[in-house]
């Protein structure tokens, strides 16, 4: 690009990702700022709706911008991204009051087949793992695969959690998992390589509704433990914001 970024403009790098997408990576040393930048840029692109831009997928420090190469081009989309960054510099990153979701979880046993494995690997007791997992609210950082999974910064475990050597072919909807430094709930049945430590009886994904999942990136989510006998009492209930 020929434009010179001003010091206040969020630093980003733009990478080619084929003829129909660009990857934008926020590259400041501040992780929180990077996350805010890519989500604000995604929101700006959605609102501005440049011709041929099909959508933007923001995650942690990166944004995938998808476009129709029959209508626009990587070069034009790159220019839109720069324009968006200048706008954000001018208006600042918009703040939004987060909503909070409370998620009941049955830990261990058939509901969380990897709980003991995780405890062993962390040199903790099963109870301590549950305590750490329920100890705080997590920021939903982005929506991931499969189907709008709430990707969260994980619990304060001593070590990163390794993925399963043999991913499961099928993990049930509502599975509560951890991997690396991340935590997630599976909205739908899907294969998975993360450690499943519990399951929520709440319905997360509703294909009859729009939006399909009730949360957006930036919302907060907190887990609390319920006994296995209560699992059935939640049947048919949907995940809803507490406030």
């Amino acid at each position: 690009m020929t434009t010179t970024p001003t010091p206040a403009q969020p630093p980003v790098e733009v990478f080619e990702s084929g003829d129909a997408a660009l990857r934008v990576v926020a590259s400041s040393p501040d992780r929180e700022a990077n996350w805010a930048t890519v989500h604000a840029l995604a929101a700006w692109l959605e609102a501005a709706g440049p011709d041929g831009v099909q959508g933007a997928v923001p995650t942690y420090d990166s944004l995938l911008v998808e476009f129709d190469p029959g209508v626009t081009s990587a070069r034009q989309v790159r220019a839109f991204v720069q324009l968006g960054l200048r706008q954000l510099e001018f208006t600042g990153v918009p703040a939004r009051a987060p909503r909070e979701f409370s998620v009941p979880v049955v830990y261990g046993g058939e509901y969380g087949p990897d709980l003991e494995r995780v405890a062993e690997q962390q040199h903790l007791s099963v109870e301590e793992v549950i305590e750490l997992h329920t100890a705080k609210s997590y920021v939903i950082r982005c929506l991931g695969a499969p189907a709008g999974s709430p990707m969260m910064d994980g619990p304060d475990f001593p070590f990163a959690v390794p993925r399963l050597k043999d991913p499961r072919l099928s993990v049930p909807a509502g599975a509560v998992s951890v991997a690396g430094r991340q935590a997630v709930i599976a909205p739908a049945v899907a294969p998975g390589g993360w450690c499943v430590i519990g399951q929520t009886p709440l319905t997360v994904l509703d294909v009859e509704a729009e939006p399909l999942v009730p949360y957006v990136p930036g919302d907060l989510l907190r887990f609390h433990q319920i006994p296995p006998e209560e699992f059935g009492t939640y049947a048919g209930r949907k995940l809803e914001a507490a406030r």
Binding site: A20, A21, T59, S62, L64, P69, G70, S73, P187, E210
Partner: protein, 337 residues
């Protein structure tokens, strides 16, 4: 007049369109017709919008019968097409009389065929698209006895002389081969693979039977990632080539999970994704490096070819009095008139 199509032999068939473009921002894959060129061509030949719901038939034989007179077009992989027992041409509009059976048999050379019906068929919609999503369990997967509502009837059009094919619209059909060349551009993480990245261009890969609409798995010499740092999940484009295991190369297609934590070695061009959509297990694939501007130019050339087809179909159908719905290209007035 509306009627319906009754599925007699579903094989492996769904109702789809060009994809759920609003899906990825919510974590849903784009999905939609894997061979976009063939799907667009079928709809154009049936005088529909490019994005109208149509049938995608994968690998297996398929039969349906029509309860009203309809006009259809079948594109995609080579096959034997019969209507009411008569042999008919693919890549041309075909008239089907009420009660006649449409049969697609012996799909060969490629993997997927498309059936568009003039006026399209009824299908449920999620986020603006009828494309099936296997993860959330949405969409129309056809079974024996499935009934698809059609919206428009077209009087039978028959060539009066010797039943010769009615239309010769002159579209260059894609070539299907068991040894395909696939164009790719460097991926955003190509540097992570060091010198081993070049293996991608010097290797003949074999399509594994475990391939599907989510991704193709290819056996052959594998580039290796040089670093082991954990990658934060990020959006990956359709066409991304990853090396998630030591066994196979993974080429993501339209059913891909939107985010992943594997480095992207290369990305298949939009045009070549259509080629991969037709690759059968056992077929051989070689990759050729290209640039984004070249890939864009090829994609646009294909779209221009489809526009030419649209204008030819428009002329022919206007003369036959078919398809004068809004948005349809009418004949331009003759110069000087």
């Amino acid at each position: 007049m509306s009627g319906s199509l009754i599925i007699q032999q579903p094989g492996h068939s769904v109702v789809t369109d060009l994809g759920r473009f609003r899906g990825p921002r919510f974590g849903l894959p784009v999905n939609g017709a894997l061979d976009q060129f063939s799907a667009r061509a079928a709809n154009i030949l049936a005088a529909n919008d490019d994005n109208a719901p149509l049938l995608e038939v994968t690998a297996l034989d398929f039969r349906m019968h029509a309860t009203a007179d309809v006009l259809i077009a079948v594109t995609g992989a080579p096959l034997q097409l019969t209507v009411g027992g008569r042999e008919c041409q693919q890549w041309e509009p075909v008239s089907v009389k009420a009660g006649e059976t449409v049969a697609l048999r012996g799909i060969n050379g490629g993997l997927r065929a498309y059936i568009a019906v003039h006026g399209s068929v009824e299908a449920p919609v999620l986020l603006g698209s009828c494309a099936p999503d296997t993860v959330v369990g949405f969409g129309l997967r056809l079974t024996e006895g499935s009934e698809l509502k059609t919206f428009k009837s077209v009087q039978p059009i028959r060539q009066p002389y010797f039943d010769l094919p009615l239309f010769r619209l002159g579209l260059t059909r894609p070539e299907y081969s068991s040894t395909a060349v696939v164009d790719v551009t460097d991926g955003p993480d190509v540097d992570e693979f060091g010198d081993t990245a070049d293996l991608l261009y010097g290797t003949e890969y074999i399509v594994s039977g475990r391939s599907n609409h989510i991704g193709l798995r290819l056996g052959g010499a594998l580039p290796e990632r040089q670093s082991t740092a954990e990658v934060l999940s990020r959006g990956v484009p359709v066409g991304a080539i990853e090396v998630p295991s030591r066994e196979e190369l993974l080429v993501l297609h339209r059913g891909r999970g939107v985010t992943a934590g594997y480095p992207v070695l290369a990305v298949v061009t939009s045009r070549s994704l259509d080629v991969l959509a037709q690759a059968r297990p056992g077929h051989k694939i070689t990759f050729r490096k290209t640039t984004v501007p070249e890939a864009t130019a090829k994609h646009r050339a294909a779209l221009r070819e489809l526009e030419t087809l649209r204008s030819t179909v428009g002329t022919v159908f206007s003369l036959l009095g078919i398809g004068n719905e809004p948005g349809w290209h009418r004949l331009a007035p003759a110069a000087g008139s």
